[in-house]
């Protein structure tokens, strides 16, 4: 592996139960390289980008990224399957179990302290037992860990308040105020105790090479094909979201400057303070690209970044990306899934042709975009036309698809008949 590599994929595989999408992808991306991914619909271009980011969980294979940009030792593996220790699996309860324990304790305490010991005061224990049993049968999902950190912290605070409160009112004997204080104390401490044990176990088991999502977002940024927006914010604030991985809560003057500069870089000034949902599709796409740039990642993952743009903006965006990738002070690279073959020919340093989940050609645009390769991947006949100076070339598609004009005519006739009849 060369010093200047930014990412390496080894034997990457991804698929759905009935369809293999990525078959054995091996790929190395170097620093300051704009790589274009070409291929027909369903070839696996978007899937590849999504698995690198971690939106889709790869089935096997390795993804290594160079976080510091220093040397081979700084390569780190991401999205590796989590290592589970036996101890962790044994001990870690899930939401259900914690709920069960709490209810059980609650029931016991209420029964112990309440003046009229009826069956109803033992009710929580009845609820708690089945929960406890069912909790043991479900495995802990990763997310529960984080969730309970927050909930348990809150209950920890509540528990200590309850404890203090109990000591204050203890003199009055056991009435319903003191027993609820005691309840708060016990519930709170139970949650906190479970939580503390949880984290010591989780810490031992965590894989040091794994980045958390926030670190990863500092390293790579992704532009999805479409953004589903249910609520809308100002364009400026949307681009500010690119700074999210660096921001605690407050926006620093530097973050603000970066966002302002990004807006100027992409000529978005005129709608910087308009709402995102008031923009046209192309304008919105440029804003999302702006967010990716403001993120100042080392690797851009762009999924058809020019699909909604007009001719001028297509060229402009690709030019700016090319500029960023080749001239940035710290090394940057981009992996761009794109359909426009001539755009790729003009701006890519390197082109990957994908077909049925495999990379079948890899090289400079001139090496890859040959009439034979295009015929093989896209099923169209094409010529490669050189410019007069010979520094650029175009791919000219001669006939689109091998025509079935008779079928088409038949279809039209049938439709006409149906509508007349």
């Amino acid at each position: 592996m060369r010093m200047s590599d930014i990412m390496r994929l080894k034997n990457l595989k991804f698929g759905y139960p009935k369809k293999e999408v990525l078959k054995d992808i091996n790929l190395t991306i170097s620093n300051n390289e704009l790589v274009c991914l070409l291929g027909v619909n369903g070839a696996g271009k978007s899937t590849l980008l999504k698995s690198i980011l971690g939106i889709l969980k790869i089935q096997s294979g390795e993804i290594w990224i160079d976080a510091e940009g220093a040397n081979e030792n700084s390569l780190k593996r991401i999205h590796a399957p989590r290592k589970h220790t036996d101890e962790e699996d044994d001990f870690l309860p899930n939401l259900t179990t914690v709920y069960g324990i709490t209810l059980l304790l609650w029931g016991l305490i209420v029964t112990a302290v309440s003046e009229s010991q009826s069956i109803s005061s033992f009710a929580p224990a009845f609820l708690g037992l089945p929960l406890l049993v069912s909790g043991e049968m479900v495995k802990t999902p990763e997310a529960d860990r984080k969730l309970w950190m927050y909930v348990a912290t809150t209950f920890g605070i509540l528990g200590s308040l309850g404890g203090i409160g109990f000591f204050i009112v203890m003199g009055e004997g056991l009435n319903y105020i003191s027993s609820s204080m005691l309840m708060m104390f016990v519930t709170g401490s139970a949650y906190t105790a479970v939580c503390v044990r949880w984290f010591t176990a989780a810490k031992d088991a965590s894989n040091d090479d794994n980045f958390d999502a926030m670190e990863l977002a500092q390293y790579m940024s992704y532009v999805p094909q479409s953004v589903k927006s249910s609520f809308s914010i100002d364009v400026y604030d949307a681009i500010m979201l690119g700074r999210r991985p660096y921001i605690g809560w407050n926006i620093s003057p530097m973050d603000r400057e970066i966002v302002s500069k990004t807006i100027e870089f992409l000529n978005l000034e005129e709608f910087a303070f308009r709402k995102l949902n008031q923009l046209s599709g192309g304008e919105r796409q440029r804003v999302i690209i702006g967010k990716a740039i403001a993120q100042s990642p080392r690797l851009f993952l762009l999924d058809e970044p020019t699909s909604d743009l007009d001719l001028k903006n297509q060229i402009q965006i690709m030019k700016k990306m090319k500029f960023l990738v080749s001239n940035s002070k710290e090394p940057k690279s981009a992996l761009v899934a794109i359909h426009d073959i001539n755009m790729a020919a003009r701006f890519a340093d390197r082109i990957l042709l994908m077909s049925e989940g495999k990379i079948i050609a890899d090289g400079t645009p001139r090496e890859v975009l040959t009439p034979e390769n295009i015929q093989k991947v896209f099923g169209v006949t094409a010529d490669v036309v050189n410019s007069e100076e010979g520094d650029r070339f175009w791919v000219h598609v001669r006939d689109e698809v091998d025509g079935k004009t008779e079928d088409d005519n038949l279809f039209l006739e049938q439709i006409n008949e149906d509508t007349e009849g």
Partner: protein, 344 residues
């Protein structure tokens, strides 16, 4: 400094100003509300002086203000804050403007708990807290089942809403069955519980409720960046910004369920404020959660206070429950705001 940065700062300063103005008007409203009641009407300045300790009230005023009106007003403010924040959180993390804090079945769970306590005497805590404690517990159990089922099916926001609706119907059916076999007195007791009123609070419960709400609110604020990413761009966008949507959504749902269950187990069903307050706040500060959460909280408190004070004074000595009053005055106001914001 870059002119764009300056413009951004000016804009957020203006928004913060309007939040502060809103906050001040809520405090003023609280003081006005404190002066209203059957005993005697006190003007704002007198109440302010008494509350902030510049004037020693006589014994009667003292007990009226601190024992009768203060708990009610504290409860209105805390309840409004909690419900509004829960609503904002849920709308944001499920990416759906129609969601309210009661969408995930908190209400149906609480109603079931209350029905069990009233009709079967089956309660987790004895004594005066029987109905409240049971409502709280069952609200959490139902929400918890929904969250587990929703995340089992898939991680998408829609699955939570769908499972929520399904479970709501089941819990509602059980409550109806209980209703069917109950005596008239029990049915009316449950009806009264479900109206949503602040009449049941005393000083202890109001303070008991305020503590956890104060503990949980900073957490909501801490999450505002992630909520921005999730509500503006959806799951994939959020991932590329460093947010794990599935885990995050679960945390947010649990928090908002906790906030909602805490309030409605004391007050009965109050849903409208959680739906409307975030939308009202959106008209003023937009969808940036760093400002949306505080301003919806203030709007929630304001709405609850206003509705409760009106309910107390309009047909005095008859008190109209705050839940009813909220819908009566809040509904038209909400529609007015929506129509206005569409035009603007």
């Amino acid at each position: 400094m870059n002119p764009l940065s300056r413009q951004h700062i000016t804009k957020s300063k203006n928004q913060i100003k309007s939040i502060i103005i809103l906050g001040i008007s809520t405090v003023v409203l609280a003081l006005i509300a404190m002066g209203q009641g059957p005993y005697e009407k006190l003007d704002v300045f007198t109440t302010a002086k008494m509350i902030f300790g510049f004037e020693t009230p006589n014994d009667v005023e003292n007990s009226i203000i601190w024992k009768l009106r203060f708990p009610r007003i504290l409860m209105a403010i805390t309840g409004g804050i909690a419900l509004a924040i829960a609503g904002a959180l849920m709308q944001g993390c499920l990416g759906n403007p129609l969601v309210s804090p009661l969408t995930l079945g908190v209400a149906s769970g609480a109603a079931l708990g209350a029905a069990l306590a009233i009709m079967l005497g089956f309660s987790v805590v004895g004594g005066p807290l029987a109905i409240i404690g049971n409502a709280f517990l069952f609200a959490l159990i139902v929400v918890f089942i929904i969250i587990q089922l929703g995340s089992m099916h898939s991680v998408s926001a829609e699955s939570y809403i769908l499972v929520g609706i399904a479970i709501t119907f089941i819990a509602g059916a059980i409550t109806s069955v209980l209703n069917y076999f109950a005596t008239d007195e029990q049915v009316s007791q449950l009806m009264h519980w479900s109206f949503g009123s602040l009449g049941r609070v005393n000083r202890e419960t109001a303070i008991f409720l305020t503590v956890p709400v104060i503990c949980l609110v900073p957490l909501a604020l801490k999450w505002s960046w992630d909520l921005n990413a999730l509500s503006v761009g959806g799951d994939e966008f959020a991932i590329s910004t460093g947010v794990d949507p599935a885990g995050f959504r679960k945390m947010v749902l649990v928090l908002s369920a906790l906030l909602t269950a805490l309030v409605i187990s004391f007050t009965g069903l109050i849903g409208f404020v959680g739906l409307a307050a975030p939308h009202m706040a959106r008209v003023i500060v937009g969808n940036d959660f760093r400002k949306l959460i505080p301003s919806s909280a203030i709007f929630g408190a304001f709405l609850m206070l206003f509705a409760d004070t009106l309910g107390r004074t309009l047909f005095a000595p008859i008190i109209i429950p705050v839940g009813v009053m909220l819908s009566v005055i809040g509904g038209p106001f909400f529609m007015y705001l929506l129509i206005r914001s569409r035009r603007g």
